[in-house]
């Protein structure tokens, strides 16, 4: 089979031949057995590839279904030395959320005094580490602890590579959420945005928080229209930081 003929076959199946070329080609198939065999093989190849490809796509959607129903209840497995204090994650989160809220409120107040145009810079604060609290004087041993130690100390590149290691086995949306925070802090806005979106869509523990950060990411990119849409959703759902969102939206 010449390269030219192979090329013809491929263009034939992609509908890229001109009417004239196509007719001539179909005529040749009738008389050229070798060519016909090759065309048949390509046809089967295409069907097999479509079968495989669509099956994979179907699986992806099915997994998305199980993800959104099951993962909702999934919690992060925290590896911690036995001596460490065990906090109720819920309490810590609530506390962290209210602290964050107060901090942000203060900033906001300041911002309104300053009249600064940089709404993002004044509103962004990396989400606090509520997953693996690090005790003073303790050294991080597990990958999880190392990741969060780096995160807390704003060594974001290091944090991201540790988060990636954690993510290797399965997609963990909680880890992804923190990774997105680190990415945003580093100014990798597009990647951060993708990650936040995934977390939002996953309907997991940090989905509501991720939404707020997604709005901030849009602000950072000067996409006020999208930011506003998301802030409106937050306000409507009265979800994480909705009061903050109410204030922020008036300034857009």
């Amino acid at each position: 089979m010449s390269e030219k003929d192979l090329d013809l076959i491929e263009r034939y199946f992609r509908d890229l031949l001109s009417e004239e070329e196509r007719l001539a080609f179909e005529k040749r198939i009738e008389s050229d057995e070798e060519l016909k065999a090759e065309v048949d093989f390509h046809q089967d190849m295409l069907v097999a590839a479509q079968h495989e490809g669509d099956t994979a796509l179907k699986k992806m959607f099915q997994q998305q279904e199980t993800k959104s129903t099951n993962v909702a209840n999934e919690t992060v497995k925290i590896e911690r030395p036995p001596t460490a204090k065990i906090f109720s994650l819920k309490k810590v989160m609530a506390l962290a959320a209210s602290v964050l809220f107060m901090v942000l409120s203060y900033w906001f107040y300041q911002q309104s005094l300053l009249g600064s145009p940089d709404l993002f810079a004044n509103n962004f604060e990396q989400y606090p580490n509520v997953i693996a609290p690090i005790e003073r004087g303790e050294t991080a041993t597990t990958t999880l602890e190392k990741a969060f130690a780096a995160y807390e100390n704003k060594r974001y590149e290091e944090a991201i590579s540790s988060f990636d290691q954690l993510e290797n086995s399965t997609i963990n949306f909680d880890v992804l959420f923190y990774k997105a925070n680190a990415l945003l802090a580093l100014g990798k806005n597009n990647t951060a945005m993708q990650a936040f979106e995934q977390v939002v869509n996953s309907k997991t523990k940090f989905s509501a928080q991720a939404k707020w950060y997604l709005a901030l990411t849009y602000l950072k990119q000067n996409n006020n229209v999208q930011a506003k849409t998301i802030l409106e959703e937050i306000i409507k759902d009265k979800s994480f930081n909705y009061q903050k969102a109410e204030e922020l939206i008036t300034q857009l």
């Binding site: 093989f41 295409l46 069907v47 669509d54 796509l57």
Partner: protein, 191 residues
């Protein structure tokens, strides 16, 4: 995913196979489609979900194969129209109401409704499909990109980080040859 700002961008992202774009579209329209279908068809929740997933696959395939090239309407309208037609095919007799809806069928007139995982494969197609599964990464990737995702050789070069299109071409030829040999070996062992 990055929220695409315009329809062309969305189509371009789908065409290059950005899974997160598809997932995003899936999530965005899922509940609305389910609610809409429940009112009109009496079939199980699983059947409706199945039809919705297939509608997404049909949408992807037709964007990829350039049967849907410019969106005259919203993506949602396309997916609803495709999903409705898929449900009609299977459950035409289970329609609950004849409520007129605003779904524009004209926009999906040219759509190819083939769903790959529901095709009844011939023996050789089954063999090939099995081999595609067993093949090493390089060949599986190239073949999938070329024959399933409709990538050009140039796009494959870019996607897989090859330096030159000729390298892609010869690699693809080698893979096809390998595939043929494997298919023949299987056939010979069967007969």
């Amino acid at each position: 995913m990055e929220r695409s700002t315009n329809k062309e961008q969305i189509l371009a992202d789908i065409r290059i196979g950005k899974e997160e774009v598809l997932q995003d579209i899936y999530n965005a329209n899922r509940d609305a489609f389910l609610t809409w279908s429940r009112k009109r068809f009496s079939c199980s929740e699983d059947d409706i979900l199945d039809a919705y997933q297939d509608a997404m696959i049909v949408f992807y395939n037709n964007v990829k194969n350039k049967k849907i090239t410019n969106l005259e309407s919203t993506i949602k309208t396309y997916i609803f129209a495709i999903g409705k037609n898929l449900l009609l095919k299977s459950y035409a007799n289970n329609q609950k109401t004849t409520l007129s809806d605003n779904i524009d069928d004209a926009i999906v007139r040219k759509v190819d409704y083939t769903v790959g995982h529901k095709i009844e494969l011939t023996h050789r197609q089954q063999v090939l499909s099995g081999i595609l599964n067993q093949m090493g990464d390089v060949c599986a990737n190239i073949i999938k990109l070329f024959y399933y995702r409709n990538f050009s050789i140039e796009a494959i070069k870019h996607e897989l980080g090859y330096k030159h299109v000729d390298v892609v071409k010869s690699q693809k030829l080698r893979c096809m040859k390998k595939l043929k040999t494997m298919a023949k070996a299987q056939k010979d062992s069967l007969f």
